[in-house]
């Protein structure tokens, strides 16, 4: 412990913040109090310390009074720590000889007694005056940024972010779990409220991804490991074997025709199980990459090794390769855009609506496929029993705004239910009922779309549907599904018999969102969607620098919002990359090597994986670039061999002494 030889000369500045602080704290009293503390050379109060003249005061006092420590008592460090550090630096001092005391959020705003609030301000200032003595000169480290970006998830969010970044000349790795990119949007027929064809606007973007020289597309792949820190992530991507070589397959689909299964008999996931596929398949005609994939759970050869492998024989390019194994690819990137999307609510969790019990109860996604021209019925609305529905009921808010399932509004269901009402009516001529709790149409041209539907003769029943069943109480209900609902506008309970029920299922986080969260070291909100750093001012940032969010993994949103957010995430990633380097806060922890006993107590604790154990030295070491300064390891090091800049024991203890000095 080296004692500073220089005389400590502290300047204390107490900010009024207009009346924000001065209204509850006697700032003059605080400044007077501080002026009597040992080491304090100058003590002032000022109306707005953050203003130019306020900052100038600091700069001048440093020169005139040879100050070497600065304490400002004002607002939260989140707001003005940087401001006053800069002012301190302008005066020629190392900015880390400055310390901020929060007497606004922590004091004036939360107290009602002026005398007590003033006493608290005095105590906090006393603590800072004690602590700032043992501050040390620190420098921010600069670390270069790797200009490549990883985009995780190949839905419209990931596609848009990847293309934006690639068009800006950045190397992009796009990793998609499914055999093809496109996500949910690729399954839609039309998009609300403009009713333009989803495929027509999406597939060109998908092929751009495939052909873009700056994009490496890895479908059927997952990120299995990510290490490193902002600007310098090291990522492992696990590529699942599709048993078809991407470099050779041209997507001619002859292998599919040749498969020993003559009939397509397995449910095609892309068609929500309404269509069928073979063990070797291409999910849909515009799949990207257009490379066949073999389902290992269905393929006879993969399962049993006993198959004549007619697919292999049929491929004149020799693309089918049953020797493929999972393959790990290592990449280095500077930023990550997480765009892993959402999962549709499992309608079986709301059993009162009969999904899975009555074949003619459909989810909205299934109906998207039914009305889709390239869907399993080529756009014909046919029921599972082959009939054409004459009446259709669309139930809103299934798995949304519900105590027992998900409490949130999924934002898109009202609009897509209106869209499906329009499409079903258009494709089948059926009479369509919409059952809604509240009609939520807050987007651009949304309300107009609703008005259009009202004019088209779609029926709207305001009320939460109680139940769907096939119990016949009246001959008119024979062979029908009966929707029981309280019509809150009529004030009566109704029974509406229909041929087909469509459940407007909500959006929820993926089942493995928690694992993904842990993998990328980001946070989730209470509902399980990934948490943005600030809901208003940092909506695509996460609490881990260099990791950005786009699309529905952050919360339910429609396509325009998703694309806007993906663009924003790409812009944030670009801003990071093009700055060329990242500045790291010096409040990091470090291990004093000769003092470390190598007990490993700290190693598993680091939430940022910054600590590793070096076998040949038998000591732990902290990667300061990864360290966020949370202090977990510092507290846990049983021999105090880990120190943290700005939070050294001496600083913390002197702060405690100061705050308790006048008690």
């Amino acid at each position: 412990m080296s004692k500073p030889v220089e005389e400590i000369r502290i300047g204390v500045y107490v900010c009024h913040c207009g009346t924000n602080i001065a209204g509850m704290v006697d700032v003059k009293n605080v400044a007077d109090f501080a002026s009597r503390l040992p080491g304090v050379t100058v003590s002032r109060e000022y109306k707005y310390m953050c203003s130019d003249p306020g900052q100038e005061l600091i700069r001048q006092d440093i020169k005139e009074h040879r100050l070497n420590r600065i304490v400002v008592a004002s607002c939260s460090p989140l707001l003005h720590e940087e401001t006053f550090r800069a002012a301190t630096a302008k005066g020629g001092l190392n900015p880390f000889f400055f310390h901020l005391v929060n007497i606004r959020e922590h004091d004036s705003w939360v107290h009602e007694n002026r005398q007590d609030a003033t006493a608290k301000a005095n105590a906090l200032v006393h603590a800072a005056v004690e602590r700032v003595r043992s501050h040390k000169a620190l420098t921010k480290k600069q670390v270069p940024v790797n200009p490549a970006v990883l985009v995780v998830g190949g839905g419209i969010a990931g596609i848009h972010a990847a293309l934006t970044l690639a068009n800006a000349g950045k190397k992009v790795y796009l990793v998609e779990r499914e055999p093809t990119i496109g996500g949910h949007m690729a399954k839609f027929d039309k998009t609300f409220p403009t009713l333009d064809c989803a495929a027509c606007i999406l597939t060109p973007k998908m092929s751009s991804v495939k052909s873009h020289k700056n994009i490496t597309l890895w479908s059927y792949s997952e990120v299995s490991r990510i290490e490193g820190y902002v600007g310098n992530f090291e990522v492992t991507v696990r590529r699942q074997p599709r048993y078809v070589r991407e470099d050779l397959c041209v997507g001619c689909m002859e292998c599919i025709d040749a498969c020993v299964f003559k009939e397509a008999k397995f449910p095609n996931e892309f068609d929500e199980g309404l269509g069928k596929r073979k063990p070797i398949y291409v999910p849909f005609p515009q799949a990207t990459p257009k490379v066949a994939v073999i389902d290992p759970d269905r393929c006879l050869n993969v399962k049993t090794g006993k198959c004549k492998k007619s697919c292999v024989a049929s491929c004149d390019r020799g693309a089918i390769d049953f020797t493929q194994k999972p393959e790990d690819r290592q990449i280095k990137v500077g930023a990550v855009v997480v765009a892993t999307g959402f999962k549709a609510f499992d309608a079986k969790r709301s059993p009162q609506y009969g999904y899975g019990v009555y074949p003619n109860v459909y989810t909205s996604l299934e109906v998207e496929r039914l009305v889709n021209a390239s869907g399993p019925t080529s756009g014909e609305v046919v029921l599972r029993d082959g009939r054409h529905p004459k009446t259709v009921g669309i139930i809103h808010c299934v798995g949304s705004r519900e105590e027992h399932t998900n409490r949130w509004c999924s934002r898109v269901c009202c609009m897509y239910s209106l869209k499906l009402a329009h499409l079903v009516k258009e494709h089948s001529g059926a009479e369509v009922f919409n059952f809604y709790i509240d009609m939520r149409t807050p987007g651009k041209s949304f309300e107009e779309f609703y008005q259009k539907l009202l004019k088209e003769g779609v029926h709207f029943v305001r009320g939460k549907v109680a139940e769907v069943n096939d119990w016949v109480l009246d001959p008119s209900e024979q062979g029908k599904l009966v929707i029981r609902v309280e019509d809150t506008l009529l004030g009566t309970v109704r029974r509406i018999p229909v041929d087909m029920v469509v459940l407007g299922v909500g959006l929820e986080p993926h089942a493995d969102a928690q694992e993904v969260r842990r993998l990328f070291n980001i946070s989730c909100g209470t509902e399980g969607f990934f948490l943005e750093r600030h809901p208003k001012l940092a909506p695509v940032n996460t609490f881990t620098d260099g990791i950005f969010l786009a699309g529905c993994c952050q919360g339910p949103k429609d396509i325009p919002d998703t694309v806007a957010q993906a663009g924003a995430a790409a812009a944030e990633a670009l801003a990071l990359i093009d700055s060329g380097h990242v500045e790291l806060e010096p409040n990091t922890a470090y291990i004093v090597e000769e003092e470390c006993s190598g007990c490993k107590s700290c190693v598993p604790l680091c939430p940022y994986k910054a600590i590793s154990y070096v076998e040949d030295k038998k000591k732990a070491v902290i990667n300061e670039a990864l360290c966020k300064g949370c202090g977990t390891c510092v507290g846990a090091c049983p021999s105090s061999s880990i120190k943290q800049n700005l939070f050294e024991d001496e600083q913390v203890f002197s702060e405690i002494r100061g705050v308790l000095a006048d008690v």
């Binding site: 000769e594 470390c596 490993k600 598993p604 604790l605 846990a636 049983p638 105090s640 061999s641 024991d649």
Partner: protein, 323 residues
């Protein structure tokens, strides 16, 4: 008068093990005697207090003093020896950090006296006699030193120049310390004459400690078998090694017993018990409170476990009597 430097030994509130450890130098003690004059060593040689009082101040080069301070007599002797010695060395855990006697600070003096003289199962004291500081009979008066309210480490009473940690300090530590003192190349005042790393550094089982101990339960050495080739802490026995200064050569671990922390913490640590507690609790596997509590049930006496030798000089120091 001899030209050799003078050395003294003294014993306050301690068990006597520290004195034993001097004798444990075995034939090495002859080298000591060759180099120095022992001018005060009540446990082994017949010196009286008045002999010390008769010495000029600072006449003794170094006094190695063991034991905590918890009585009036001990405090007097400590102050006397401080005056007479150029260097006062806190020898062993009790002088260094309060040691086992320091655990008495969990109780008030009244609680202690009441238990020892009245309530303990082995006490037969029908008249409820308590020690008195004065007793007069047949015209003669005797005095007994007063028991203090609180047990203190040596440096809580007088200035201490150096510390030799351990319960007791190991002979090699003493030999090195005497070497340093006689060489004249003195370390900075206040130094602990033992390494600055924690015990794991010299533990023969260091390599067997996994990177993630993730405690699922704690066991006590008398209730379960300790495997001889694996990190004892990782086996769930509370080994204080990570929070304890090295220098003993991990003797307890070599005897297949966990470290109990007698060397105290490294100089950087303000509170050994708090540090170990913080470290252990950070590494508990369960994350939910009821399960965490269950794991912690395996440590029935946290003060006796984490502050076995250091309570007197810790941040906790003592229990404030609320009665």
């Amino acid at each position: 008068m001899s030209e050799k430097p003078k050395v003294g030994f003294y014993w306050c509130a301690s068990c006597g093990g520290c004195e034993e450890s001097v004798v444990d130098l075995a034939e090495g003690i002859l080298d000591v005697v060759k180099a120095v004059d022992i001018v005060f060593w009540p446990v082994a040689m017949d010196f009286k207090r008045k002999d010390v009082e008769a010495m000029p101040d600072g006449a003794i080069l170094a006094t190695l003093l063991n034991g905590a301070v918890r009585s009036g007599e001990q405090e007097e002797m400590v102050r006397l020896l401080r005056r007479k010695s150029k260097l006062l060395i806190a020898y062993g855990s009790c002088a260094h950090t309060g040691g086992i006697p320091g655990l008495a600070n969990q109780f008030s003096r009244e609680e202690i006296l009441k238990f020892v003289y009245q309530e303990s199962p082995s006490t037969a004291n029908e008249k409820n006699t308590r020690p008195q500081t004065r007793f007069a009979e047949e015209g003669r008066e005797t005095h007994l030193p007063e028991l203090h309210q609180v047990v203190r480490s040596l440096d809580q009473v007088v200035e201490v120049d150096y510390y030799l940690p351990g319960c007791p300090p190991t002979p090699n530590l003493l030999k090195n310390a005497l070497g340093v003192l006689l060489s004249g190349k003195l370390p900075p005042k206040g130094a602990v004459l033992a390494p600055e790393t924690a015990l794991c550094n010299e533990c023969p089982r260091k390599d067997s400690k996994p990177q993630d101990v993730a405690f699922k339960e704690f066991k006590r050495p008398h209730l379960a078998r300790i495997e001889t080739d694996k990190c004892i802490l990782a086996q769930g026995f509370m080994c204080m090694g990570p929070a304890t200064r090295a220098g003993c050569g991990a003797q307890c671990v070599q005897g297949n017993m966990p470290c109990t922390g007698c060397f105290g913490a490294t100089s950087r640590v303000r509170d050994q018990g708090a540090k170990m507690l913080s470290s252990v609790c950070s590494n508990i596997d369960p994350k939910e409170e009821p399960e965490i509590d269950k794991v912690l049930e395996g440590i029935p006496d946290p003060v006796g476990t984490f502050y076995r030798y250091g309570l007197a000089r810790s941040l906790l120091r003592r229990k404030v009597s609320t009665v």
